[in-house]
Amino acid sequence: MSLSISLTVNGASKVVPIEDPRVTLLDLLRERLVLTGTKKGCDRGQCGACTVLVDGRRINACLALAVSVDGADILTIEGLAKGDRLDPVQAAFIEHDGFQCGFCTPGQIMSATGLIREGEADGDPERVREGMSGNLCRCGAHAGIIEAVLDAQRRVAEQERRIA
């Protein structure tokens, strides 16, 4: 059986042949498109390391079959920065030391990006903690992550004010 799906990944249109319907979006990204920034921590939707944005919404890429995202617009960690210019969320993670080993970091950053776009956690640390709780961190970098998300939220809001 051979299928093919069309995707936009980090702004680029792709037609991807899929010879096996069992392939998840996560394994498609990692093993076939070699976009290995998105991590596999549990393969069961329990850790959030594989968080990507699909049509602007954050999802666990390990829980989506690749064939189910035909036609979707996908944003991964590799698509956030513009060359050497980091996205405000990425910059805030570095500044606030919002990571240690770095393995959950792509998921945390994509989740934070999604959370900020959702506009539900406006500046409230408790709501940010709640909204980020699907992304596990084992090193214990939580304090820096939450500071980073709050700071990034402020920066993004400021940017938007300037544009508007």
């Binding site: 069992r22 998105t38 921590g41 850790c47 590799e78 030391d97 080993c101 970091t105 939580h142 820096g144």
Partner: protein, 751 residues
């Protein structure tokens, strides 16, 4: 609290890098997804391997449907005890310092649940995964021993890696007899699994007799030799690359069966093989923190001084190996007592062998000790902090040696001040918040030994005034890429942007072990010494050169900083490294250095980091739900190289303390011996919403003996003290004493 720790010690060249809160040098790679972890590698012609693991805990594999698995499209090979090629070394023999008996399909025995019983190799991950399912193993099952009640007790010859199982000072009977108050309490700690976010992973490729391994590893050069031994090749034939580890916590310092099987598959099939353990397989073959049952007896006199301290621990291990959590040793070096006895017993169960996990021994032992100390304080009618101060150890209680440096009093004082400890009621159940929640405050002392391993490093100054520094260090998140580069920069008297740091690969000088909180001290010393070696050669060139402004200054008469040598008595006389090298006609200048503990210092001094942790919890009076709401930790750990990263390490340790106290526990089915919560939904670790406001204070400490740089370590100490502080805060809120960890809602409601 300033972000920069000033230098006080005179024993190193004054630097501009160490002590600065620099952001991580690998930060850009990590936030853009460009940092390459082992499983991110994709050599040409790659095969995927998935381990089949046992679903029973004791018995033998009676059959595997190898034909069905091999018939599945894409499956290339199924490796079982029947066809696996021989190893040069018996997997039941231990190799090296961190050797363990491992399961590499040597026979059909099953010794624990999730033990490897076959390896399926396929063209795709999906095919290999399905191949494993098709094996449909059948077993001859034997009765499982999985709990404290049914294990096989034994008296060990050693605990952890070769430590004595019993340590005793003074006359315990006399000490207990002299006590006016006695407290006896038992505590159970559960099996815990490291669960680094990055599962164990490997990409193995052979080229003739040369082997390349991409795999996360905490002891790169040591492990290279161990891998080589299993395959009968010289250590130099193995290239082990581990630039980034997605967490380790001890589990990536030790050998395991799946890794050997992955390498074996690559050899048998003549193609590169990638293997990533599924999360469930992280519960078995790659180590864990063994369960303990600990009993403490404390005697105190009328003044609240300890007359006796006895710490007895039963620690669990596997049926076939010996690692025991050295929990009772947590009582040896912290509180003054005329008699201290720490004793361990072993209990064999049908589990994978435990191993070192973040603060092995100290974490579980401190949980019990700090809880018991709280009970003893109450028995004496003393505030828990005052009780600890009365039992402050001026010298190491176990050895009688003076401490190399101990700043625990300052930790107590500053931690208590920041927390607002003064005025706390002695009795429990006295505080409620505005929502009616019970509020409690507790504290605990933190202690962790300050070991060093052996490391080597090389520094090469280049003609353009930059330098290459190299050591096979391991960064599992603690910040070695940054902190080690900062130390190297100071050793060379260069600004950090002039430093190119190579690390994380076995073809570099041996960086030692990222473990025991000793990596920064050990690899850092080696790097600093390599830099010093370069500078002394450079000085030699300059002071003997008539054309140099430093001519005649003598080797002791110059300072190195910002890429120049300065005459110590006349700042106006200086010369840049580039010009010294250029005049000598050199394109580069190499220096080498070693790091390790000075045996004479070790003989004379006891070396520990210390700290104090204060916790607030809130407990729902009706539902028994607990939340840690505030934590303050004050730690003294010698020189802090990078306060930003050190704080992150200490936060991490304290969060592990929250996890130990309130969340983590592996549950095993009593009939089958299988872990019932072998996933990240059932095995609870704290999520963001569980983490309170936290504060870490870095207490300035000058330690002139621990090593030339005055560095101890900060990776593990945070978990000690924290567990007890939370348990004690729960008592203060509710009047219920924790007897087992994690502390559960039912303990609080029923208690």
């Amino acid at each position: 609290m300033p972000d920069t720790i000033p230098f006080r010690a005179q024993n190193v060249r004054m630097g501009s890098s160490s002590g600065q809160p620099l952001t991580r040098r690998d930060g850009f790679l990590k936030v853009t997804g460009a940092a390459t972890y082992a499983a991110d590698n994709h050599p040409e012609n790659l095969l995927h391997a998935v381990v089949a693991v046992s679903t029973i805990a004791r018995g033998r594999v009676a059959s595997l449907d190898v034909d069905a698995a091999k018939a599945h499209p894409g499956v290339v090979e199924v490796i079982t005890p029947a066809n696996r090629i021989p190893l040069a070394l018996d997997p039941d023999v231990k190799v090296g310092l961190f050797g363990f008996r491992i399961e590499a399909l040597q026979d059909d025995r099953v010794r624990y649940a999730n033990q490897p019983i076959a390896l399926v190799v396929a063209e795709t991950l999906e095919a290999a995964t399905e191949g494993v399912r098709l094996l449909a193993p059948r077993y001859d099952v034997e009765q499982t021993r999985i709990s404290f009640g049914d294990g096989e007790a034994f008296e060990p010859v050693a605990v952890a890696f070769g430590s004595p199982p019993v340590a005793a000072v003074g006359d315990l009977g006399a000490g207990l007899a002299a006590a006016s108050h006695r407290v006896e309490a038992s505590y159970v700690t559960p099996a815990q699994y490291h669960n680094a976010m990055e599962p164990h992973a490997m990409v193995a490729s052979w080229d003739g007799d040369r082997l390349t391994l991409d795999t996360p590893n905490q002891a790169i050069v040591l492990s290279r030799a161990a891998f080589a031994a299993y395959f009968g090749i010289p250590a130099e034939n193995v290239l082990l690359r581990s630039p980034f580890l997605g967490g380790g916590f001890g589990s990536k310092a030790i050998m395991n069966g799946p890794y050997i099987l992955c390498i074996l598959a690559a050899r048998m099939l003549g193609r590169p093989v990638k293997m990533v353990l599924p999360r469930a397989q992280m519960f078995g073959p790659v180590g864990h923190r063994g369960a303990t049952r600990q009993t403490l007896r404390l005697g105190t006199d009328a003044d609240g001084r300890l007359t006796a301290l006895e710490h007895d621990a039963v620690a669990t291990t596997s049926s076939f190996d010996d690692f025991l959590e050295p929990a009772a040793n947590a009582s040896l070096n912290l509180y003054a007592s005329p008699t201290i006895v720490a004793r361990h017993h072993g209990l064999r169960l049908d589990i994978g062998t435990p191993g070192p996990m973040r603060a092995p021994g100290e974490a579980s032992g401190s949980a019990a000790l700090e809880s018991a100390m709280d009970e003893a304080a109450l028995a004496c009618g003393l505030d828990p902090l005052e009780f600890r101060l009365r039992n402050y150890a001026e010298n190491d209680p176990a050895s009688g040696k003076p401490f190399s440096a101990k700043s625990l009093r300052e930790c107590y004082a500053q931690g208590a001040e920041a927390f607002g400890w003064a005025g706390r009621a002695l009795e429990p159940c006295r505080m409620r918040d505005e929502a009616g929640q019970l509020v409690g405050w507790g504290m605990g002392s933190a202690i962790f030994h300050a070991p060093m391993f052996q490391a080597e490093a090389r520094a090469t100054l280049r003609a353009d005034g930059t330098a290459l520094v190299e050591t096979a260090g391991a960064d599992m998140g603690q910040g070695a890429w940054t902190a080690l580069a900062q130390i190297a920069a100071d050793g060379l008297g260069l600004d950090i942007d002039k430093i190119e740091f190579r690390s994380g690969s076995s073809d570099l000088p041996d960086g030692g072990v990222a473990g025991g909180s000793g990596h920064t001290a050990t690899a850092g010393s080696a790097l600093h010494n390599a830099g010093t070696d370069v500078i002394s050669k450079l000085t030699e060139l300059a002071v003997n050169d008539r054309d140099s402004p430093l001519f005649g200054a003598g080797n002791a008469g110059v300072d190195a900083r910002h890429g120049r040598l300065y005459h110590r008595d006349d700042e106006a006389r200086s010369e840049s490294y580039q010009s010294i090298l250029a005049r000598a006609g050199l394109t580069n200048l190499e220096g080498n250095g070693r790091g390790g503990r000075d045996p004479a210092s070790a003989e004379q001094r006891a070396m520990f980091s210390h700290g104090a942790v204060f916790a607030e919890v809130k407990v729902d009076p009706d539902l028994g739900q607990v939340k840690a709401t505030r934590l303050v930790g004050a730690f003294a750990a010698g020189r802090i190289i990078n306060p930003k990263l050190a704080r992150s390490q200490l936060y991490g340790g304290m969060i592990w303390g929250i996890s130990f106290a309130l969340h983590e526990e592996a549950l095993h089915d009593r009939r089958t011996g299988r872990p019932m919560n072998a996933d990240l939904a059932g095995y609870h670790i704290p999520v963001h919403a569980d983490i309170p406001d936290m504060e870490v204070l870095l207490i300035d400490e000058v330690d002139p003996y621990v090593n030339g740089l005055g560095i101890k370590g900060v990776g593990e100490i945070g978990i000690t003290g924290t567990v007890g502080a939370i348990a004690n805060a729960i008592w203060h809120a509710t009047g219920v004493r924790a007897r087992r960890f994690p502390i559960r809602i039912e303990d609080i409601i029923v208690g």
